[in-house]
Symmetry: C2
Subunit: 314 residues, 2 copies
């Protein structure tokens, strides 16, 4: 599967969430147990939810990298788009991709292995791979995988959730033995919602992905929180931060969706007329005073990005 | 996996080879047996090898299509690049991809299923999928799958061949019961080599794929044959046909590799200085009198395309 003599770096996406970090760590553990020379790495700081999970299971955060030597062997988990990956991705040799997102202008020089499924998390796909190979994860790994699934599916509230994800959590919990999954996920979500004393710019950066839609370069941020009022109360500052980010970069538009995890609503902060016209075109939503209500669209991958992609490609 | 109420079209690449046609037919049969409304289609005429195989097993050629209604649900087998697929691919909903090639600028609006493995043929991957699902192919389907594997791996001579492909053929042959695989593959290769009375332009078109490398639009044709002298003897005509094709299209370069299946050599017809400089850059091969000898590079996907992709992306 891999050249066992060449170190392979396993990485999730930039602005990593729990699924990105956990999938890199868990897949690396699996591959190391099969004799491969692998190193899990991260393309950014862990968020507070991920820190809570890693602390809970006693696992170290992977090394954060910005660049790798040209020609490094890499495995992408939880993403495939160049904009969301390691700098100069096309200078590396991509050996494997395990992901559950849409594909974005993905190219390689050589054939490779890819496994994409429309499940709620990358950790769910890893569970299937492990099972096919007869690999039993440890309690630590199983707990991490459950955490990633609960995080990505908002404990089964997100429309990305499938029956398979629920069954996988049940199966993994025979190993992880988390007593109360609801209580555990509430602890995770509280950790994620505890944004502390951070700047408005950091709020916009907390969980963002870059996409290119029909030539338009975008940044779509989400804040998944049990306390939407905190971010929405700082709307003016956030609008200003978005303007700064756009001035500093090559971005055509920046959206920040504040997702109320418990009530499953999406309140989008709309910085300018450009964003307002996109929100109108993609969701038929009106903007008033920098706010557009996007209803129950709580999943970037399933209910936010596809309408924008379709609206801007036509 | 699919919306069982929406017809899904299963298709291999343009300028189809045996693996492209067989994989579409076999995967469609599997999905139909699981209650899905599917239709295998082809993006071009079958070659003589494929016709031999379909006749041998008594299977009809799929319908040849040029366009589908916008928004059709499609499954791509044996390819992923837009240049090699249905017209306006991005207007359709790609539900699944099963492939063993490199990725080329592939994009979707929504998450999807993909399974790419570096095996010798797409039929080999389908075999693994069937096995995982506990699906036993009929003798007809098993014979078609073996044919696709033997075709794509040049009966295990191609460097794309893996031990897994060999084991899969052995396993499938417990169902197909082909007495002498060598004899059968020679019949396939003779059928493929019987080019009959075709024009030089048709020779260039017999098995080609379009790629984009660092902005350069290309056409890379191969003629896999037991009788390379036939095509090489028509070199002057072929060079002229390549010039015509380039004039009629937006192509930056066209290569035609004549692959001697039995002796495993690649003699490339080089139409102009543009092609000569690419062959020099990618393979360090000199061109003399419109011919460059590319040694044992008998696999477009493994030993022809990657060096060109690397040379032209840097």
């Amino acid at each position: 599967m891999y050249d066992k003599n060449t170190k392979t770096y396993i990485m999730g996406h930039k602005s990593p969430d729990t699924d990105a970090i956990v999938s890199a760590l868990v897949y690396a553990a699996f591959l190391a147990d099969h004799g491969h020379d692998v190193e899990p790495v991260a393309l950014g700081e862990a968020n507070n939810e991920t820190k809570f999970v890693l602390e809970h299971v006693g696992m170290d955060m992977p090394m954060i990298v910005e660049e790798l030597p040209d020609g490094a062997h890499i495995v992408l988990v939880d993403h495939n788009e160049q904009n969301q990956s390691i700098y100069d991705m096309d200078k590396h040799e991509i050996k494997w991709v395990v992901d559950h997102h849409k594909m974005g202008d993905f190219s390689t020089h050589k054939p490779l292995h890819m496994r994409l499924e429309t499940l709620g998390s990358t950790a769910s796909i890893l569970h299937k791979i492990f099972k096919e190979k007869g690999y039993q994860p440890s309690q630590q790994l199983a707990t991490m995988m459950i955490s990633a699934i609960l995080s990505d599916t908002l404990h089964f509230r997100s429309p990305t959730t499938t029956e398979e994800d629920k069954a996988i959590v049940e199966e993994l919990n025979t190993i992880a033995a988390i007593e109360d999954l609801h209580e555990y996920s509430m602890k995770m979500f509280s950790a994620k919602s505890d944004l502390g004393d951070i700047s408005a710019k950091e709020l916009v950066q907390i969980d963002y992905k870059n996409f290119e839609f029909g030539g338009m370069k975008s940044w779509i941020g989400v804040i998944e929180t049990t306390d939407p009022d905190y971010a929405l109360g700082r709307k003016e500052e956030i609008v200003e931060a978005i303007h700064t980010i756009k001035e500093e970069t090559w971005l055509d538009f920046v959206l920040l969706c504040v997702i109320d995890i418990l009530n499953e609503t999406n309140t989008c902060i709309v910085a300018s007329d450009v964003e307002a016209s996109i929100v109108k075109k993609a969701f038929d939503a009106e903007t008033s005073d920098h706010i557009a209500h996007l209803g129950k669209r709580v999943s970037r991958k399933k209910t936010i990005v596809p309408p924008i992609s379709e609206a801007l490609s036509s």
